[in-house]
Symmetry: C2
């Protein structure tokens, strides 16, 4: 079948085939794609989350390859399970696209899906394909807790430390670059295209005794704000705990931005932030960036930076304009 053929010409089944490829199901996939539903063995309760990526909202065809878009869709979703201390094992994918799209695009998208599934250790269980005006990718991830309780946002206690695993500010720097029509520094552009989720770090944090955890999707100040509210604590971020990486310095200098605004409010990197009962409990690969204290009348639950309220903006509303 010609890679230049359109989805409207090749039809639904060929699209599904291009997405699935040569699938070797893992042992816990009791029934994979091809029936009305899939069956996945789980040990104990199932943990689940959904993320939807929409063309021209979460990605642009001119900015990302099909494989990047697929990898991002998987990565952002698995990050949600990491943030519960869970282990992701399976995904289902809703794929909507215009009939004019070429088979070539879907094949590259399918290859990206399988690449990131392999990296994250999850199996493609099934999906739904349908027509739409804009390419829309909906990924639901399933996983298990391996006998542990889930690590919620609400468990942080005064005296805990906040540690971070993964990067912040890179994807936002990449977006700033792409929005200005540039393609470098390449490292931040790559970070915007596909986040580097620290697969496995969530489960290790749970094992190490993490008291609360969150996926940093909307920016560190905003997401630690959710954690602080849910836990009824004050989180005080220490600017000195952050080094400004070279590519972020370059983007900040070129755009006139504050590099700390990128680090503290840039979203879409999907680092993990977790609280631990003291620095000694923090596992390898994590670094302490904040402390946790009890709220007071003067300082209610929320996030501060170096002991003062953060005034640098940030946060992301999914119905507002892309910042």
């Amino acid at each position: 079948m010609s890679a230049a053929a359109t989805l409207g010409e090749i039809g639904e089944w060929a699209v599904i085939e291009a997405l699935i490829g040569d699938l070797t199901p893992a042992a816990d996939v009791l029934l994979g794609p091809g029936d009305d539903a899939a069956v996945l063995a789980v040990d104990g309760p199932v943990v689940t989350s959904v993320d939807v990526l929409v063309e021209n909202v979460h990605f642009k065809l001119g900015w990302s390859d099909p494989g990047d878009i697929a990898r991002k869709a998987i990565a952002v979703n698995v990050a949600d399970l990491e943030a519960m201390g869970a282990r992701a094992t399976g995904i289902v994918v809703g794929f909507s696209a215009p009939p004019q799209l070429q088979l070539r695009w879907v094949r590259e998208f399918g290859a990206g899906l399988r690449q990131e599934c392999a990296a994250a250790g999850v199996s493609l269980l099934g999906g739904d394909v349908t027509r739409s005006r804009d390419i829309t990718v909906s990924v639901t991830v399933l996983g298990g807790l391996d006998g542990r309780p889930p690590v919620r946002r609400s468990g942080a206690r005064p005296g805990d430390v906040v540690a971070l695993c993964g990067r912040t500010g890179w994807a936002a720097a990449g977006l700033a670059v792409l929005q200005r029509g540039f393609r470098s520094p390449r490292a931040v552009v790559a970070a915007q295209r596909v986040p580097e989720v620290p697969y496995g770090a969530g489960a290790r944090a749970a094992l190490a005794g993490a008291t609360a955890m969150i996926d940093v999707s909307d920016g560190l100040v905003g997401d630690l704000g959710h954690l602080a509210s849910a836990s009824a604590v004050v989180v005080d971020l220490h600017r000195g705990a952050f080094e400004v990486p070279e590519p972020l310095q370059a983007v900040a200098a070129a755009t006139g931005a504050d590099p700390y605004a990128l680090l503290l409010t840039g979203g879409e990197d999907h680092a993990l932030a977790a609280t631990f009962p003291g620095a000694a409990a923090v596992p390898a690969g994590w670094r302490v960036v904040a402390t946790v204290s009890a709220p007071t009348v003067e300082q209610p639950a929320g996030v501060m930076v170096d002991g003062a309220p953060w005034t640098g903006g940030g946060g992301f509303d999914h119905f507002g304009p892309r910042s």
Copy 2:
């Protein structure tokens, strides 16, 4: 908050609130909406399926109320778990909509979600809301098998009978009516807006010894064709097993259609078709409509109607034009 306010004005959190409403989680919901992921207790393996409904592809705003669209999104998805003999217990919802949409619309959509979840016995576990040009609803359903093996498409054997639970042709008749600008017969228009899925019938069929089962989403001839291929059998539909209901007679007469074409190839009603080892095994609420035989050189695996190949068309390709 004014019901006329737009999603762009009220922001993401108010949208989530309108979708969730007053949620009373069931006992198996160990963690509901509000964290990075939800946690659902399941007894044994988890069964899952995803369906995506897109504005102007699967529904039109002029044809369906917001509540109908939500109910349809849940119903078509739960039907997939019914067809495995599974019991659906939870769903996650991806909701994408333009920022210009009014809060009123989302509130009615949320009410429909909760109404159909209650009817199907499933809990709303969580979701994702985001901006898009067209309203897009992605529902992933999770459930369990209560210790039974899944009923697959591939288990039909020569000598089995095929039985049907639920209606066929009604939604297609409703579509024909709506496409011509009419709103009656109201029963078929209602069937197009929200399918009447026979909740619980799939599990009862599994308990009764169903050897294969499928959700009739694309039409009886087409979907029994999938079952026949997967099982390597011939399914012979008996036209005499079908009465043509009065509203279908009316639509067929008004549009010049063959009423049996509606019954045998009309999709979107989400009846269940299952094979049983003899008529005695067929549970109450199901009626025998076909027999199963072994393929031959002259008649390979597939579907016949009254002993002859079906020549009336049918089937549905999700990238082709809406038939």
